[in-house]
Amino acid sequence: MLSEQVRARLALLRRTLRPVRMPAALPRDAGPASDPYGTAACPPDASGLPEGREVVRASGGHWLIEQTLESLWPAAAASLARGGPRLRQAAGAADDLPDELRELGRAFAHQVIFLDLETCGLSGAMIFLAGLLHDSPRGLLLTQLLARNYAEEQPLLESLWEYVAQRDVLVTFNGKSFDWPLIVDRSTLHRLIAVPDHRHRAAGAPPRDDAWHCDLLHHARRRWRGQLPNCRLQTLERYICGRHRGDDIPGSEIPAAYHDFVRTGQCPAMHAILRHNALDLVTLLQLALCIVP
C-alpha cells in the first residue's frame, strides 16, 4: 500500500505533467487569406535555393519546400501500415498510459503535426527553418518553411502558426524546453501574439484547451531508461529506428552555415541543413510509432 506521503508526491507529479496548452495565434494586421499554399510560383532567378515556392504575406515572404514522405522515406507506407493502427489502438487502452500518448494515438495521423526547428543558436536566436510533418489528402507531407534572410522570420512564423493552430496534437523532441518556448519568444518579439501572461496563454484570445504538446524526449526517457547510452535523437535513431546517418552536418555548424548562406546565397550548406532537418522529422515520426509499448 502506498503511504500518504508517497501518494501526495505522485499527485503532485501528475499535476506538473499536465500538457502545455498552446496559445492560439493572433495574426497581425489584415493579411491575405490564410491558405499557406501561397500565390506565385518561384521566380526564375531564385536559383541556388532548393526546389520550392515563395509564400507571400503582408509582412513579407519566405520560401516553402514540400515533398511527400514517400519520396523521402520509401518504406514509409509499410512502416505506417504497421505502426499506425497500433498507435490508434493505444487510444482505447485502459492501462497507465500517459494522457499525452493516448491523445497522440487518438489524433493520429490527421490531427497530428510533427515539428523540428533549426535556429541561429540557442536562447534568443532567430528561427530560420521550421520543419513540419503533417497529414494531407496526398498522404503525409514534409513541409519546410525557410527564411531566406533575417527579415523573413516573421512571415515564416505567421505561416507556422497557421499550420500548428489547425492541429490537435503537436509532437516534438525536447520541444517543451526548446522549440516551443522559442516560438513563443520569437512570436512575442514580432508581436504576433499578445504579451503572454505567466500561464503562457495569450491574453484575450480563446485558448485551445483541447490542444496537446507531446514531447517525445520525456517519453523516450521513461520508455527506454537504462537501455541506451543516452537519449539523444540520433542515438534513438540508431538503436530504436535502426538507421544510421552518414555524412550529416553537425548541429554546432548549422548557425554559421546559415549566416554564410544569407551573405553569399550559396546553397551547399543549406541543402545539408534541410536534409538534416528532414531526417530529424522522419525519426520523430518513427519514434512516435514505437513509443507505445
Binding site: 513579407g60 536566436a125 527579415a151 520569437r186 518579439l189 503572454p196 505567466h198 554559421a256 549566416h259 544569407v262
Partner: protein
C-alpha cells in the same frame, strides 16, 4: 562620540604640531517641508506615517510632481536626504492607481540593489494593502531560477543593475515582454558613477533599453539620482539621450558636522617631504577607536587600504587593545561574500575600524559612523562629499578629516579650502560615442531588434559609420534597409561594462600542498577559469592592470597578508600565488612610448602655442620592479621582469609651444624639455579638476620624435579614449591657469613633489603613493617660465600660425 573633545585630545597630543590647517563647522540645519499639489493615496500616507515621516521635504515634493507630469528628472542631493523616496513615492503611487504598472530600478552594484530592496520591503510591510498590491524583487546574477520566473511573471518592481540589464534582460527581452510593455518608470540611482568607461557602456545599454521599450509600446519616465557634480543635468541627458529636469536644492536636515583639513608635518628643513598621510590616519583612527568611536578611513589605492589595516592592527596590538581584532580592510578584489560580511559587521557595530577604497563609497547602508578619514584627496569633490557623508548620517555630531598627501592638488586644496565648500567646478565626462564601445553595443542592439536608420541614429552621429565597419567585417548584415546581427552567439555575453578589455586575470592559490601545478583552462565562451583540484581563486584583476600587479616575483597584498606570485600565465590569464610572510612588497617599473597617428582637431586661438587633438598609439611595458621594505619604505632590491608590452590605441591632446617660446626659454637659462616635463606632471594632476576623471585615467609624455620639436602629449588610458583629454583640449585655458597657480603658489624653492614633481606620474591603483618621493625633479623655474610664456600675449598675431606642425 564627542568630536570636539576628540579634536582637543589630538591637539594636546605630543605628536601634534599644527597639522589641523582648517576646521570648518557645518552647522546643523533644519528641514524645509512642502505638500504635494494632489495628496498621496491613503495607503502611502499611512506607511510614511508609520515610518515617522509626517511631511515631505521640498525636493521630494518637487520630484513627485515632476514624475507625475511625466517629466524625466535627476535629483542631486546629499546622503541621508531621503533621495529614495524621490523615486519610490511616484512609483508606489502609480502602482496603486494601476495594478499593471511596473518599474525597473538600476543600481551600480548588486549590494546596493539588495540594500534598497530591504528598505522597500520594510516600507511596504507597514500597510497590508500596499504589500498586497506591490511586489518587488531583485534580479541579478545571484537570483535563483525559480525566483527569476516569479519576478518575470509577478513583480511590479524589478531591482537590477546595468550589467544584468545588458547581459540578460535585453538580449532575452521577449521573456520580459510583460515588464517592458507596462513599464512606467526607470530609476537610475548614483548616476554620477556612470561616467568614464562605465558611463560609455551604460549610455549604450540605456539606448538599447529605449529601443526595446519603444518596440513594446512603453514610454517610461526616467528618474535619476546623482551626487553633487557640476553638470548632473548634462551627464544624465547624455546618458539618456533626452533632456531632464534638475532638482538640486537639498531640503533635508543635517546634524552638526566638523570638516577638518590636515597637513602632515614636513620632514626635514625644507618642505620637500612630508610624513605619510596614511601614517597620520592610522594615528587618528587608533585614537578614535580608543575613544569609543567607529571610524572609516578611505584610501586611494587598494594597497594603501591593506597597509592602513596592517599598521592600525600593529599599533593596537602594541597597546594590547582588543580592538586590534575589530579592524578590517575593504576593497575590490575581495570576494563578494567577504565584502558583505564586512558591511554587515560595520552596520552592526561589531567592526570598529575599516580601511576602505572607494568601493565602499556608494550608498550601502553601513549605519552611522563617528569619524571618516579621507587619506589624500579622493580625486573629485563629489567623492569627497560622499565619503564624508559616511559619518553622521542620522544626525548627531560627526567629524570628517581630509588628510592631504604630497600631491600638488592636495596641497593646492589646503591653500584653497573654499574649493570644497563652494560650487563644484568638476564636470562628469561621458562619451557615448567611443567607437570601441559603440561597436560592441550596436551588435548587441542588432541581436535584440533589427536596426533601421532611425534606430541606428539614436546611438549617435557616428553610429552609422561604426555600423558600416561592422557590416564590412560580417558582424552585421543589411536586409531590406535594416541591420541584423550575423555573428555567433549572443554578443552581449562577451562585453563587460566595467572594462574596456573584456579579460580578467585570476590570482590562484594552491590549497593542497602536494598538488602539482597543472595548467588552468579557460572555459570557451564564458571565459571563466576551470580550476583543477587543490586550487582556489584568491582574487581577480583586469587585464590592463595585471602586468603591473602580478608579474612574476611580485608581492601581492590581500587582507593585509602577503602572497608571492610564482608564475604569470598570460595565455591562460592566471597568476599562481603562494602564501609567504614577506618583509617587503614590490612596485613595478614601467617604460612607455607614444606615437601620433591622426589629427582630428586643431586650435589656432592660443596666443603662443599650437594645440591639437587626435589619435595616438601608446606602448608600455613592465621592465623591472623595486622591493620596498614594510615600515621603513627603503628600497631593498630590484628584479627583472620579462613580459610583453601592452598596446593601447586612444585619443590625446598635444601641445606644441611656439618657436618664439622655444627661443625665449634657453635665453633665460631654462630647458624646454624639462619645462614640458614639469607641465606634464602638473597637467596630469590638474586635468581631474576639469574633466572629473582620476589622475590615473590619463597619462602623458614629452616627446620630440613625433613632430620634430618638443611637444607635450596627454592621453586617455583607455582604448578609443573616453573624452578626458578632449575635455582638456576644449578647456585648455582653465587647465593651464590651474597649472600656473599650482606652480606659483607652491612655497618650495626649486620644485617639490607637491608641484612639478613626480616623474612616475601614474601611480598604479596598486601602488603605494608614498613611494614617489626622492626622484629627480623637473626644473620648477623653467616650468613656470613656460606657463607664463604660454599665457602671455603674442608680440604679433602671426606667431601662432608660424609655429608647430
Amino acid at each position: 562620540m564627542d568630536v570636539d573633545a576628540f579634536l582637543e585630545r589630538i591637539r594636546r597630543h605630543p605628536q601634534y604640531a599644527g597639522q589641523l590647517v582648517h576646521v570648518r563647522e557645518l552647522p546643523a540645519r533644519g528641514g524645509r517641508f512642502a505638500d504635494p499639489g494632489r495628496p498621496l493615496p491613503a495607503p502611502l500616507a499611512r506607511v510614511l506615517a508609520a515610518g515617522g515621516i509626517e511631511r515631505l521635504y521640498a525636493h521630494q515634493v518637487e520630484a513627485l510632481e515632476s514624475a507625475r507630469s511625466g517629466q524625466d528628472l535627476v535629483v542631486v542631493t546629499g546622503t541621508a536626504s531621503g533621495k529614495t523616496l524621490c523615486y519610490n513615492l511616484p512609483i508606489f503611487e502609480a502602482c496603486l492607481e494601476d495594478p499593471e504598472a511596473r518599474a525597473l530600478y538600476l543600481f551600480p552594484t548588486k549590494a546596493l540593489a539588495q540594500d534598497q530592496l530591504k528598505g522597500q520591503l520594510e516600507l511596504l510591510a507597514a500597510d497590508a494593502e500596499l504589500a498586497a498590491r506591490i511586489k518587488a524583487g531583485v534580479y541579478d546574477g545571484d537570483t535563483p531560477p525559480a525566483q527569476r520566473r516569479r519576478i518575470k511573471a509577478e513583480a511590479n518592481l524589478v531591482l537590477s543593475n546595468p550589467d544584468m540589464l545588458h547581459a540578460s534582460l535585453l538580449p532575452y527581452h521577449p521573456r520580459w515582454a510583460r515588464l517592458l510593455s507596462t513599464l512606467k518608470f526607470v530609476v537610475l540611482d548614483e548616476v554620477h558613477t556612470y561616467r568614464g568607461i562605465l558611463g560609455a557602456h551604460v549610455a549604450c545599454v540605456l539606448r538599447r533599453l529605449d529601443a526595446v521599450c519603444r518596440h513594446y509600446g512603453a514610454r517610461p519616465v526616467y528618474l535619476a539620482a546623482s551626487a553633487t557634480i557640476a553638470n548632473p543635468g548634462e551627464l544624465t541627458a547624455r546618458l539618456l539621450n533626452r533632456e531632464v529636469r534638475v532638482i538640486e536644492r537639498d531640503a533635508a536636515p543635517h546634524g552638526r558636522k566638523l570638516f577638518a583639513l590636515w597637513n602632515p608635518v614636513p620632514l626635514g628643513r625644507d618642505q620637500l617631504a612630508r610624513r605619510s598621510a596614511g601614517d597620520d590616519a592610522v594615528w587618528l583612527m587608533v585614537e578614535a577607536l580608543e575613544a569609543g568611536g567607529q571610524s572609516l578611513a578611505f584610501t586611494r589605492t587598494r594597497q594603501a587600504a591593506e597597509l592602513v589595516q596592517r599598521y592600525a592592527q600593529d599599533e593596537l596590538r602594541r597597546r594590547h587593545s582588543p580592538l586590534a581584532h575589530q579592524v578590517r580592510a575593504y576593497r575590490g578584489g575581495y570576494l563578494p561574500g567577504e565584502r558583505r560580511q564586512i558591511e554587515q559587521d560595520l552596520s552592526s557595530g561589531r567592526l570598529r575600524g575599516v580601511a576602505a577604497t572607494n568601493a565602499l563609497e556608494l550608498g550601502i547602508d553601513i549605519g552611522s559612523l563617528d569619524v571618516t578619514l579621507l587619506i589624500q584627496y579622493p580625486g573629485t569633490i563629489a567623492s569627497t562629499w560622499q565619503q564624508a557623508g559616511r559619518s553622521g548620517r542620522r544626525a548627531g555630531d560627526s567629524l570628517t578629516v581630509l588628510l592631504a598627501g604630497n600631491d600638488p592638488v592636495d596641497q593646492y586644496l589646503l591653500r584653497h579650502p573654499a574649493y570644497f565648500f563652494a560650487q563644484s567646478p568638476e564636470h562628469a565626462v561621458v562619451d557615448p560615442e567611443n567607437p570601441y564601445v559603440l561597436a560592441r553595443h550596436l551588435q548587441a542592439a542588432a541581436f535584440e531588434l533589427p536596426l533601421d536608420e532611425t534606430a541606428t541614429a539614436r546611438f549617435g552621429s557616428t553610429a552609422a559609420q561604426v555600423a558600416q565597419v561592422l557590416g564590412d567585417s560580417g558582424q552585421l548584415a543589411q536586409v531590406a534597409g535594416k541591420l541584423y546581427f550575423a555573428g555567433g552567439q549572443n554578443p552581449a555575453q562577451k562585453i563587460s561594462l566595467r572594462h574596456m578589455s573584456d579579460e580578467t586575470f585570476s590570482i590562484v592559490l594552491r590549497t593542497e600542498k602536494d598538488r602539482v601545478q597543472e595548467p588552468v583552462r579557460v572555459e570557451p565562451g564564458s571565459g571563466r577559469h576551470q580550476l583543477p583540484q587543490g586550487f582556489e581563486v584568491l582574487a581577480n584583476v583586469d587585464a590592463i592592470s595585471a602586468p603591473e600587479l602580478i608579474y612574476p616575483e611580485a608581492v601581492y597584498l590581500h587582507h593585509g597578508e602577503t602572497y608571492f606570485i610564482r608564475q604569470l600565465d598570460l595565455e591562460g590569464k592566471v597568476a599562481y600565488a603562494e602564501r609567504h610572510e614577506m618583509s617587503y612588497y614590490t612596485q613595478a617599473v614601467l617604460e612607455s612610448s607614444v606615437q601620433i597617428t591622426r589629427t582630428r582637431e586643431t586650435r589656432h586661438d592660443l596666443p603662443r602655442a599650437r594645440l591639437h587633438y587626435g589619435d595616438v598609439d601608446v606602448r608600455w611595458q613592465t621592465v623591472a620592479f623595486k622591493k620596498i621594505k614594510f615600515g621603513t619604505r627603503e628600497n631593498v632590491g630590484y628584479g627583472q621582469v620579462e613580459i610583453p608590452a601592452q598596446n593601447l590605441v586612444t585619443t590625446a591632446l598635444w601641445l606644441v609651444p611656439a618657436d618664439a617660446v622655444c627661443g625665449e626659454l634657453p635665453r633665460a637659462g631654462a630647458r624646454i624639455g624639462e619645462a614640458l616635463c614639469g607641465l606634464r606632471n602638473l597637467a596630469v594632476v590638474a586635468l581631474p579638476l576639469v574633466a572629473m576623471c582620476d589622475s590615473r585615467d590619463v597619462s602623458g609624455v614629452v616627446d620630440s620624435r613625433n613632430l620634430g620639436t618638443c611637444a607635450l602629449i596627454l592621453y586617455d588610458r583607455y582604448p578609443g579614449g573616453l573624452g578626458y583629454c578632449e575635455q582638456g583640449f576644449h578647456q585648455i585655458d582653465t587647465l593651464l591657469s590651474i597649472c600656473l597657480d599650482l606652480v606659483r603658489e607652491c612655497p618650495c624653492e626649486n620644485g617639490c613633489p607637491s608641484c612639478v614633481g613626480l616623474p612616475n606620474l601614474r601611480p598604479a591603483i596598486h601602488s603605494d603613493p608614498d613611494l614617489t618621493r626622492g626622484y629627480p625633479l623637473p626644473d620648477k623655474r623653467a616650468t613656470r617660465l613656460l606657463l607664463e610664456a604660454l599665457a602671455a600675449e603674442p608680440a604679433a598675431r602671426g606667431t601662432a600660425a608660424a609655429c608647430g606642425v
